[in-house]
């Protein structure tokens, strides 16, 4: 395997982590990663070895994610959603996940995709504001307000959730 492919391989765990938090469902997340890898391999010639493979790959994955969200939105949400919702909400079988993790990942799915992506890029993937803004293709100010609003939303959802008696979601 050449150097470039090896560099991409090394980024797979991070890509999977980001996709998992972004989409919640393990299989859906890995499908997004696969799309991303295929796209990256197709553009391999355009990538210089000196460039940071992480930023490059996250940018590709983000574009795929955004394109798809737009397409689905245009196609009309209501028609297909009642079925799909259950898929996204369904708990992956035998996934070892604590109650706290389950709650926060569920809550994350309830915030807008833009805010979710911004928050995850910085809070989980450890990109700087400047790097994340670059990957997501937005000005730094926009990134910051997405992060702030995303955190605020997440807090509201989690607090509301904990007020709701003792309903807890545990794995199947």
């Amino acid at each position: 395997m050449d150097q470039r492919r090896a560099a991409i391989l090394a980024e797979i765990p991070r890509l999977r982590r980001y996709a998992r938090a972004l989409l919640r469902n393990r299989d859906s997340a890995d499908d997004l990663v696969q799309d991303c890898l295929e796209r990256a391999l197709g553009k391999l010639e355009g990538w210089r070895t000196g460039d940071n493979p992480r930023r490059w790959l996250f940018t590709i994955m983000h574009h795929l994610f955004v394109d798809q969200m737009r397409r689905e939105k245009r196609r009309g949400e209501t028609a297909m959603l009642p079925i799909e919702t259950s898929e996204a909400m369904a708990v992956p079988a035998y996934q070892a996940e604590s109650v706290a993790s389950h709650e926060i990942l569920d809550a994350l799915q309830a915030i807008s995709p833009d805010r979710r992506a911004a928050l995850l890029m910085v809070a989980v993937e450890g990109f700087s504001y400047a790097e994340a803004a670059n990957v997501l293709g937005v000005p730094a100010g926009t990134l910051m307000s997405r992060i702030a609003r995303g955190r605020e939303e997440l807090r509201t959802i989690l607090e509301d959730g904990s007020r709701r008696r003792a309903i807890r979601v545990i794995e199947k």
Binding site: Q34, R71, T85, L120, A123, A148, R168, I170
Partner: protein, 261 residues
């Protein structure tokens, strides 16, 4: 150093490592002087840690072989089915759209949770009422099991079985028909040799939603419940959660087999 005014924006910057080092000390002083902001900062820090923990394990998962093959140049055929992540992405839009209502407290996590928690509440109410009963714990006893199962299947509208829980130490006592909203619910009551009772509460559910196992606790009574294709079931009792889980797993498989068979 002149201390500048800090705002909530700085809380985010501090958490994300974007606050310049030379401002850090002044920021900490500002937090100490503003308990509201300090509380907010702590809350965000807690959520941040939970978020990081929730997916931390993914990094150590082995890379799927299909990705390694892809990178080593072996072409990996893809299925014709639309990628699942696209469907999940669509769902995410929907969920986000529902957020306004959610935040206003108009709806819960959506209708899935509403339906599922109604199921669990009904199950706990019925369990509390009948498990305490000495003489009339069931309407139809286990000695008429076939009749009981046939009757409840017909009234509830789901092809039922009374799961065999002897491996978990519970014998079927019998069952009864109960109202559940505008529908009917079946309750199967089980008992172990010490007299501890566990009940299964089953309703039909036309919405083909699926949930994982969920837990509702009310006053020492726990209900593990789930919605599956066409039905919802709650396993309820005062047993520890692990014991209920074992029973729920067994009941889940047996109900599923019964419906297919």
């Amino acid at each position: 150093m002149t201390a500048r005014d800090f705002t909530e924006r700085d809380i985010h910057m501090a958490l994300d490592g974007e606050l310049p080092a030379e401002e850090r000390a002044a920021y900490e002083l500002w937090l100490e002087a503003n308990p509201d902001m300090k509380a907010r900062s702590q809350r965000f820090a807690t959520d941040l840690a939970a978020l990081q923990n929730s997916v931390a394990g993914v990094l150590t998962e082995p890379v799927p072989e299909r990705f390694e093959r892809l990178l080593s140049g072996e072409k990996q055929p893809r299925s014709d089915a639309p990628p699942r992540w696209r469907m999940a992405a669509a769902a995410a839009i929907f969920v986000a759209g529902g957020l306004g209502g959610y935040l206003l407290g108009i709806s819960g996590w959506g209708s899935i949770d509403a339906a599922a928690s109604q199921l669990a509440e009904g199950a706990i109410a019925a369990h509390t009422l009948y498990a305490a009963e000495k003489l009339h714990v069931v309407e139809v006893g286990a000695d008429q099991k076939d009749h009981l199962v046939g009757w409840l299947s017909k009234r509830v509208g789901v092809k039922l079985v009374a799961p065999d829980l002897t491996a978990q130490g519970f014998e079927l006592v019998g069952g009864r028909l109960l109202p559940a909203e505008s529908k009917a619910a079946a309750q199967f009551m089980y008992q172990d040799h010490t007299g501890n009772r566990v009940s299964l509460y089953i309703i039909s559910d036309a919405t083909t939603k699926e949930t994982g196992f969920r837990l509702l606790e009310e006053g020492g009574t726990r209900s593990l419940y789930w919605l599956d294709d066409g039905y919802g079931c709650a396993v309820t009792g005062t047993l520890p959660q692990e014991a209920l889980m074992t029973i729920a797993n067994s009941a889940y498989r047996q109900l599923l087999d019964g419906m297919k068979g």
